[in-house]
């Protein structure tokens, strides 16, 4: 929607009806020109942030910015681009993929997509609808469309930026034309994004001359937003291990204090957070490289000591192929040189190594600034929020599994999980921000039945779901399906579920503890066993949620196919369609990591 008034007399062609127009004129009556200018920017910003408010169905937008994100990276790139375009007078429509109607594609002129890759080369959850539309039979020609794709990914995955690639193929197949070639961006995507935004800017200029744009932009006056670039410093209130000492996995329950005015979240959302690297590992790195912890380094605009940069700002525990390549160029080691040439082997190499393994096996001369330059910025990590803000306003609960593994003669700890479960102490602060997850939400109608499937820490969001329903005092039939290793050792939040069952909030609890007996039963097998009941719930309109590891999710999907066949009389193809239809209706929601 374009909202632009230069003066009251010369009102351009507009999409408002008479009543709306009268109201608007009343509202701006008496404003001076500065005020009018301000109001125009305000409305533009409103439009950009509230895609739902905009766009009557039959209206063709001049420029649409579509993003599909899981952890918010794609969204922030798209937002930056929107800001930039607005600053030059464009009024792009900024919209998240799940709010986008795929049918509208045929009406688009310019479409700019920022999309990340998830799973194993899959698009983010929010883009499933779009993808299945484009893969389906009902698509119409897109020959009027020009598009550009910015694909976010991580080159340590086999299917690097695959979702962007797939989308490009799908659009090409429908005859869409390229505004710009696709750009793939790795974990340190910011410089690439900067470049790309400039290119888009000039390309848009060519296709849509500025005269057409009539919005006079202003700085967004939205309240301070805590996002990945401006995390909120939350204090750790409490941490406790919630698996027994003899459990195979170490899982902790954390409670962080937040200011509810500044941090708001919904059940289903995740928390992004930054962490401190292990000081012992940093000492070892310094001693191997012979660098001083006091050495001054610059990181962007900031100057700080090397030890602080290593501790707080740089990625040390996820080793990236590009870091190995950069390190390789500092050494004469031909093994490392050969490795750097072979991406397959390189991916394998980094998969179970941290920086410390690289540096200790292949020593090299490097100065402090050189080291800082070759490393990536620390990536925030995501954790499902395990509490409801409606129930506990000023706390965020997390369920964190300690990642630890033995490889290359060394005990490794995950960066974030190591810090959260082994190092930080009560009253310490953690930089956090909320990562919205609109594709993992409680049903809008509270009496809709829910089937919540989770393995391991995948159970965390359901605690938020049920806390929310408990504190709202409304719920439907709820069924929890949980899997882990041992009933006595790692039945996460057992007493919560038992209490919810007692109070009637939970009707049914199904469990699979894989190491309690010989058969190694997992949730997917349990689901299949209880397939008749599950299918019945689905027929009653239940929403099905799945949260946890990729493997589990895949197993659950297979079980659902089998259940649809056994209990729903479907054949191979129609079973898949049935599940797809659940997904499209928002009744099959997944949060997989």
């Amino acid at each position: 929607m374009e909202v632009a008034f230069q003066n009251r007399e010369r009102v351009p062609q507009h999409p408002l009806d008479d009543l709306q127009l009268t109201r608007l004129q009343q509202a701006i009556d008496g404003l001076n020109s500065d005020q009018l200018v301000w109001a125009s920017g305000y409305l533009a910003a409103l439009a950009a942030y509230q895609p739902k408010l905009k766009q009557a169905a039959n209206e063709s937008p001049a420029l649409t910015l579509l993003y599909a994100t899981q952890s918010g990276n794609a969204r922030s790139v798209a937002e930056q681009l929107a800001d930039r375009l607005q600053a030059s007078g464009y009024a792009p429509r900024l919209v998240s993929a799940e709010n986008y109607r795929p049918r509208d594609l045929s009406k688009e002129k310019l479409l700019i997509v920022v999309i990340s890759t998830q799973g194993e080369g899959e698009p983010p959850e929010s883009a499933y609808g779009l993808f299945s539309y484009l893969q389906g039979k009902k698509t119409s020609s897109l020959s009027d469309l020009r598009y550009a794709i910015f694909a976010l990914g991580d080159s340590s995955y086999d299917q690097y930026c695959q979702a962007g690639k797939t989308l490009e193929q799908l659009l090409d197949a429908q005859g869409a034309k390229r505004l710009l070639d696709r750009v793939d961006a790795d974990v340190d995507y910011q410089p690439e994004a900067e470049n790309w935004q400039q290119q888009i800017h000039s390309a848009v200029k060519q296709h849509q001359p500025e005269e057409q744009a009539r919005v006079i932009p202003l700085q967004r006056s939205a309240p301070v937003r805590h996002d990945r670039n401006n995390p909120y410093q939350a204090e750790l209130l409490e941490r406790r291990r919630i698996t027994t000492d003899d459990a195979l996995s170490e899982v902790h329950h954390l409670s962080l204090e937040i200011d509810p005015q500044l941090i708001q979240f919904q059940p289903g959302d995740a928390l992004g957070l930054y962490f401190r690297n292990d000081p012992a590992m940093i000492d070892e790195l310094l001693s191997i490289t012979g660098l001083s912890c006091e050495a001054k380094v610059t990181l962007g605009d900031d100057e700080m000591s090397l030890s602080r940069a290593l501790c707080e700002r740089l990625e040390l525990t996820q080793l990236h192929p590009s870091v190995v390549r950069a390190w390789s160029s500092l050494t004469d080691d031909h093994r490392l040189h050969a490795l750097s040439e072979n991406i397959e082997q390189l991916r394998k190499f980094v998969s179970d190594r941290q920086l410390i393994d690289l540096v200790s096996t292949f020593p090299a001369d490097v100065d402090a600034q050189g080291l800082v330059k070759l490393l990536h910025h620390q990536q925030s990590r995501l954790y499902s929020i395990a509490s409801s803000q409606h129930a506990i306003e000023d706390e965020i609960h997390l369920t964190v599994a300690t990642l630890q593994y033995q490889s290359h003669d060394r005990n490794h700890l995950g960066g974030a999980s190591g810090d959260l479960t082994r190092r930080i102490e009560e009253t310490d602060r953690v930089g956090v921000y909320v990562v919205e997850n609109p594709s993992f939400r409680l049903p809008t109608s509270p009496d809709t039945p829910m089937i919540m499937v989770g393995a391991g820490t995948g159970i965390a969001p359901y605690r938020a779901f049920l806390q929310q329903q408990e504190s709202l005092g409304v719920h439907g039939r709820n069924w929890l399906v949980f899997g882990n290793r041992h009933f006595h050792r790692d039945f996460l939040y057992q007493t919560d579920w038992l209490n919810y069952r007692k109070s009637g909030l939970l009707e049914r609890i199904s469990l699979a503890f894989s190491r309690d007996n010989q058969e190694r039963t997992y949730v997917q097998a349990r689901l299949y066993e209880e397939g008749a009941e599950l299918y019945h719930w689905l027929q009653e309109g239940a929403h099905l949620y799945v949260c946890g590891g990729v493997e589990m999710e895949r197993g659950v999907y297979q079980s659902l196919l089998a259940i649809a066949q056994t209990h729903g009389g479907h054949d191979d193809a129609s079973a898949a369609e049935y599940i797809e239809s659940l997904r499209i209706q928002g009744r099959y929601q997944r949060d997989v990591y």
Partner: protein, 435 residues
């Protein structure tokens, strides 16, 4: 004075002859516990719910319920079992319990640390070798004791048979146990419990048979006692005793220990009628308000022995004869080998606290398993929590002794104090020690 019926009475009454909601409790995977009422009913099926108190607080902070497990006590009249039965007892303990077997002062064995999911398979497997756990811990007649009498094997066999008959005669008649654990068919209705009624006894009930001059079973401390009267190896009948019991409640001086009263002599053919009558009188006259005062000894104190005896005679349709004179000269096990009058040998093994396990010091459990593999007689659990390898032919004596020594079941260095010690199983998990 508070005159409300003890809550257990209602639980029993509502249990539909000991079914309760045990099936649902067992099917619930989300908790390792039974429902509170089922935890009472389960005792009649032979097992207790326990939780490790040392872990309670920690687990609460871990959002975990207490660590529940179960102790199951078998019914094994007179403590006698065959080597084949022993092999099963051993395997089941390894597979489904915590890997140990505990011998009790009531001549039976217990498994500890059984998880809820393992209860049903465990009960099924012991039943396959004709051992059940009915009444192991409930308000009914408990395991019947019988002097193990290694010296006099033929007499032991005859008297032991009476221990079995009494035990079976006093079993509850409900099919609940078969339905729930052995997949027996559900009873359509019209079920009754002719002896016990739907509220069973007010409290546990203990029965023992002694064979003078041995009083290993401590016959005067049982609710119901039978003292075998013999003449030239022939059983003439029993002196019947009633109302013994040593338990008291700490700091409650309305509770007291009491030795049984002698009711008189009966010939063998009246044994079951008298046992049934004593149970019936306790059923009707026992205290159902205060469980502390619910044992038969308090009932007899209230009624007076004369009235009690008359009531028993009336119900059994007999008259007691004057009790025969008896004298007990020994109590306690005689360790090592003894030979009986038929030339068979019996080896009494000292088992500290009745605990049979494989430890770094001694492999008692494996040792007994090996002995059971070759033994042809029987095993007898003694009232002192020891074990007799009974009826060994002379030819096998050395082999068995060798195995016993090899696994630490037998050694020449034992201090007398250690031998005299009988400890109650006072683990943190056990609310009432040994029953």
């Amino acid at each position: 004075m508070d005159i409300k019926l003890n809550p257990n009475e209602l639980i029993k009454a509502n249990s539909r002859y000991l079914r309760g909601t045990l099936k649902q409790s067992m099917a619930d995977q989300a908790s390792g516990a039974l429902s509170a009422d089922d935890a009472q009913i389960s005792k009649f099926h032979g097992f207790y719910e326990q939780d490790d108190r040392d872990l309670r607080l920690t687990r609460q902070q871990q959002f975990l319920e207490p660590y529940y497990s179960f102790m199951l006590r078998a019914r094994l009249p007179g403590g006698v079992c065959t080597p084949q039965q022993w092999l099963t007892i051993d395997t089941v303990g390894r597979d489904l319990g915590n890997g140990t077997i505990r011998l009790t002062t009531r001549q039976t064995f217990q498994y500890h640390g059984i998880l809820k999911a393992n209860l049903k398979p465990l009960i099924k497997r012991i039943n396959q070798v004709m051992i059940d756990s009915i009444g192991g811990c409930g308000d009914v007649n408990r395991n019947v004791l019988c002097n193990p009498n290694p010296e006099d094997s033929s007499l032991h066999q005859e008297v032991h048979l009476w221990a079995k008959r009494i035990s079976e005669h006093l079993l509850p008649k409900t099919r609940a146990y078969h339905e729930i654990w052995l997949d027996g068919e559900a009873v359509a209705g019209g079920e009754t419990e002719p002896l016990y009624g739907e509220t069973y006894l007010p409290r546990k009930f203990k029965t023992a048979i002694a064979i003078p001059p041995h009083n290993d079973v401590d016959v005067y401390t049982n609710d119901l006692g039978f003292v075998a009267i013999t003449e030239a190896d022939q059983l003439l009948g029993f002196n019947v005793l009633a109302g013994g019991g040593m338990g008291t409640t700490h700091e409650d001086n309305t509770t007291f220990p009491r030795l049984a009263d002698e009711l008189g002599f009966i010939p063998p053919e009246h044994t079951l009628a008298v046992a049934e009558a004593v149970v019936a009188v306790q059923r009707d006259f026992g205290d159902r308000i205060s469980r502390r005062h619910a044992r038969l000894k308090y009932t007899i104190e209230r009624m007076g022995v004369t009235a009690f005896k008359a009531e028993v005679e009336k119900r059994a349709g007999i008259l007691f004869e004057t009790a025969k004179p008896v004298s007990f000269t020994s109590q306690g096990d005689r360790y090592g080998w003894v030979e009986d009058n038929r030339g068979q040998w019996h080896l009494t093994l000292y088992i500290e606290n009745g605990r049979i396990a494989d430890t770094p010091e001694a492999t008692l459990m494996s040792g007994l398993r090996e002995i059971a593999g070759i033994h042809q007689g029987d095993f007898r659990i003694t009232p002192n929590q020891n074990l007799i390898v009974a009826r060994v032919p002379k030819a096998q004596k050395d082999r068995i002794e060798q195995l016993a020594r090899q696994h630490g079941l037998l050694s020449d260095h034992r201090s007398p104090t250690r031998l005299a010690s009988i400890a109650c199983v006072a683990l943190p998990t056990c609310p009432q020690g040994n029953g």
